[in-house]
């Protein structure tokens, strides 16, 4: 169905090819997962299938790609749209119409499909993706998962033979991601649709795919194979594969069910062995008392009490719409509190400007791109200093302390691991690098309180590990960190304490190990494989087994 033959592609104004000598073949009806670190060419490979590369991007292409006998390079994306349905990472950027039904019908209208047939096709995809109840809803009123399913339905309405998805679950909570993946599997099994997708969170997708494609920007070509054989050989793998690899389980289990067969035979200590990282009670740097927030009279938070102390990493978990981001935004004054009190670093934030609060509190929003606009990475940090101090870039070169902290962009960039990128244009960097630049831009004033909203969106395992190391480092130096995430594996890596939110209320608050282990929805893979042990990470599993 899809054949790449020695395909090499280079973007304009770059010398390094994004894809080098890629050769692979996917039969009809397969479900293939493209993995690789950020910048390895995953999206480029997917875009070649639909003809978006090189038609939109320009650049030079060698070799060939064929999709159902058609050459996307010759045919272009508009013609290929009849064969290839494309779903982008962000469902917001691909929507054209206001309502669900109109959005699904858009492609059919463009293709001139007769009205009667259009009605049938729209009904089909509404049923296939379980969207019938949402048909008259405005797109803006839907959740992320629902919007992504609408995007898939819109792509499917043209009855493509191939469905291409670029990180379709990266912005979704675990339940919504599960819904989208279930829909994809149903489509593959019921219709024999060929599906090819890129995804960073392998633990979600690996059990469902039959072909794994690994791209490495340092190596030409692509590694292609069965997930059960290839997954263990690759540097990027989910915790279950890492555990299997370390303990020598064969064949490599990809699902918890398959892993439990092995894990039950492993001797282990029966108690919660992960030491509590909770700090001694000191003065809370984040102190929230009876916080209520509403949007147009719809309550988002209802009487939340939460205190975070220096040396703690508190992870807020909960479904989309549970109030996590609202809580974080209220701490820097972006969302006003209806009732209650917020005390940051001993000061009530009422009446203070966001810019003033963020002098001592670093807040990294969901989309770090919104923070970046300077010409160079170094300049991004200098602009923050200028905003807070009023000192121009040239004045900043003279050493001067601000409070007890002396802002030093070079030192911070080095610590963030991006010193070599100081003179690069920030928006040209990979997702992980851009995120670290944004972190630098909000942290340069030396804030000891760090708030992060979905910091792992679009990050590969390596970038996530880098971020986790940074957070753990800051925590041990006494910073207080409060972060919101849907990524339970990341939460397991960094959290000292976990708070579960539901419908604007805290429903669980405790040390990470027992809280995460006890949650059927938020338990990481290690906890699911070894229930009752309190092990959350691969490292904890290996240490626990060694001790047991």
């Amino acid at each position: 169905m899809i054949t790449f033959n020695n395909l090499t592609y280079t973007y304009p104004n770059t010398s390094h090819p994004a894809l080098r000598d890629v050769t692979l073949s996917l039969p009809e009806g397969s479900v293939a997962l493209v993995i690789g670190s950020s910048g390895s060419g995953k999206s480029t490979l997917l875009r070649c299938i639909g003809g978006l590369v090189p038609h939109f991007s320009g650049g030079t292409i060698q070799g060939s790609v064929l999709v159902a006998g058609h050459d996307p390079v010759l045919d272009g994306p508009t013609r290929m749209s009849r064969l290839v349905g494309y779903v982008f990472q962000d469902p917001e950027t691909q929507a054209v119409m206001e309502r669900v039904e109109d959005e699904i019908a858009f492609g059919l209208e463009q293709a001139g499909i007769p009205h009667a047939e259009m009605r049938i096709r729209v009904e089909e995809v509404l049923d296939l993706l379980d969207l019938a109840v949402l048909r008259d809803r405005l797109l803006e009123s839907l959740s992320g998962g629902e919007r992504q399913r609408v995007a898939i339905a819109a792509a499917l309405a043209l009855r493509p033979r191939v469905l291409v998805l670029d990180e379709p679950t990266s912005q979704l909570d675990p339940q919504s991601a599960e819904d989208v993946l279930s829909a994809l599997i149903r489509l593959n099994q019921d219709l024999g649709l060929t599906i090819i997708l890129a995804e960073h969170r392998l633990e979600r997708v690996l059990p469902f795919v039959d072909t794994l494609i690994y791209l490495d920007d340092t190596q030409p070509g692509a590694l292609v194979g069965l997930p059960s054989t290839l997954a263990a050989e690759l540097p990027l793998h989910p915790p279950i594969v890492a555990i299997a690899k370390a303990l020598g389980w064969h064949p490599t289990p990809l699902t918890i069910k398959a892993g439990l067969v092995f894990s039950r035979t492993v001797a282990r200590s029966s108690s919660l062995t992960q030491p509590s990282a909770r700090t001694e009670q000191t003065t809370a740097v984040i102190d929230i008392r009876g916080l209520h927030i509403s949007y147009d009279k719809t309550p988002a938070l209802r009487g939340v009490d939460l205190a975070v102390q220096p040396g703690e990493v508190v992870v807020l978990l909960g479904r989309s719409g549970s109030g996590k981001s609202s809580l974080l935004r209220s701490l820097v004054g972006l969302t006003p509190a209806e009732r209650g009190q917020i005390i940051m670093n001993g000061q009530d934030i009422r009446g203070r400007e966001t810019a003033d609060i963020c002098r001592d509190v670093a807040f990294l929003p969901q989309d770090p791109n919104a923070l970046l606009f300077a010409e160079t990475v170094h300049e991004e940090l200098q602009i923050t200093i200028q905003n807070h101090t009023g000192r121009s870039k040239t004045q900043q070169n003279a050493p001067s302390k601000i409070g007890n902290h002396q802002p030093d962009p070079d030192r911070l960039l080095k610590r963030l691991g991006i010193a070599a990128l100081a003179q690069r244009y920030p928006r040209d960097l990979s997702v992980g690098e851009r995120q670290r630049v944004a972190l630098g831009a909000v942290l340069i004033m030396g804030a000891q309180v760090l708030l992060l909203d979905e910091p792992t969106r679009g990050l590969d395992y390596r970038a996530k590990q880098l971020l986790a190391d940074l957070l753990v480092g800051w925590r041990t130096e006494g910073s207080a960190i409060l972060l919101v995430t849907h990524d339970v594996e990341f939460a397991a890596l960094v959290a000292t304490r976990v708070v579960l939110l539901a419908r604007g209320e805290i429903i669980a608050d405790g040390d990470s190990s027992p809280t995460l282990s006890a949650s059927p929805l938020f338990a990481p893979q290690a906890a699911r494989l070894f229930p009752g042990t309190g092990w959350l990470t691969v490292e904890a599993v290996l240490r626990g087994i060694e001790q047991g």
Partner: protein, 348 residues
């Protein structure tokens, strides 16, 4: 709104709305009514009819949210700028620039009446906008202009998206310590807004191409391209001539250029036929709403023998007097209740 119907022996719910042409007729009638009279009594009836329709058809829109601001603003502006009227409320010192002199009750009343009319126009547009999706409205264009309709739909949707993005950028900059204190501080927001807007535009263009827009299969591109180039050349030439020579030739070139561009768009759309998913049929109640709207327009604009046009006029100057009321005009204005009545009957 929901109607019940029999389908294959089952009772099913059918989502039905007014035809967009019926809505446009109602909106036109509302606007003509509100601009044709300053008689507060007739104006009040028209505004109440619009309010009824607005509250019934789009209760969530909150279209009268700004009415107090509009009425107050209009009253204050008229009070401060119109110096005529016999009943002096306050006399401002002559040394005050612009607003010195007498502030009169008559100018205050006329300001309130004008504000009432403006609130009615705002509410009517809001109600119609909420009731007719932009796309449905654009579907009134001939099928050959479908690409134009899609382009306008996207452009309209881009405005709220850009406003959302602006808010996001403002927040992001505030997080980095940026304070908005003067006009110059807004400059710092422009660059991220521009970059973000370009990013989104590119992503949307890719998404559209991946969904088959614009359809180019079997299309001859040369003729529309020539027509567009020629049309744009004529438009630019027409503008220049009109600007510097003020010649009729300028107007002719503008007209000719517009026609050529329209032909090019039509050709492009016609070469790759489109179909429409939403086909709203014309129903009897649409006819009733249309007839009611035409009746309202007729009463307010035509010199009908049984209508006294003086009743539409009202001027509080030089001294305030009670307005006249014409029952026939009042009854005809009730025609603006059309869409609201249709919805209420439909619900029952």
């Amino acid at each position: 709104m929901v109607l019940l119907a029999l389908f294959d022996g089952r009772i099913v719910m059918i989502k039905r709305t007014l035809h967009p042409i019926a809505w446009i007729a109602w909106l036109t009638a509302a606007c003509i009514t509100l601009s044709a009279t300053r008689n507060p009594l007739h104006l009040l009836i028209a505004v109440l009819c619009i309010a009824f329709t607005a509250l019934i058809c789009s209760p969530q829109a909150g279209m009268f949210r700004y009415a107090p601001v509009i009425i107050l603003g209009s009253a204050v502006i008229n009070l401060l700028t119109a110096r005529i009227g016999a009943t002096v409320l306050v006399r401002l010192p002559a040394s005050w620039p612009l607003v010195n002199g007498n502030l009169t009750l008559e100018s205050l009343v006329f300001g309130i009446v004008t504000g009432l009319a403006l609130s009615g126009v705002f509410a009517a547009f809001t109600a119609a906008h909420r009731a007719i999706p932009t796309r449905t409205l654009l579907d009134l264009l001939p099928v050959a202009f479908a690409p134009l309709a899609v382009t306008i739909t996207i452009a309209v949707a881009f405005v709220p998206a850009t406003l959302r993005h602006l808010r996001q950028v403002r927040e992001a900059q505030a997080i980095r310590g940026h304070r908005l204190r003067g006009l110059r501080d807004w400059v710092a927001l422009l660059m991220p807004l521009l970059i973000g807007g370009l990013d989104r535009a590119l992503q949307l263009a890719e998404a559209l191409a991946a969904r088959g827009f614009p359809e180019t299969i079997g299309m001859q591109k040369r003729m529309p391209t020539i027509l567009i180039a020629l049309g744009l050349g004529m438009l630019i030439g027409g503008l220049l001539i009109r600007q510097w020579a003020g010649h009729i030739l300028g107007w002719m070139l503008l007209l000719g250029g517009s026609v050529l561009v329209a032909i090019a768009i039509w050709q492009t759309g016609h070469a790759a036929p489109k179909t429409r998913y939403r086909q709203v049929p014309w129903m009897p109640h649409d006819s009733l709403v249309l007839i009611a709207a035409l009746a309202v327009v007729g009463v307010f604009t035509l010199p009908l023998p049984f209508i006294d046009p003086v009743a539409l006029l009202f001027s509080p100057y030089p001294s305030l007097a009670l307005p006249r009321f014409n029952p026939l005009i009042g009854m005809a204005t009730l025609g603006l209740l059309g869409p609201g009545v249709f919805v209420v009957i439909g619900k029952q």
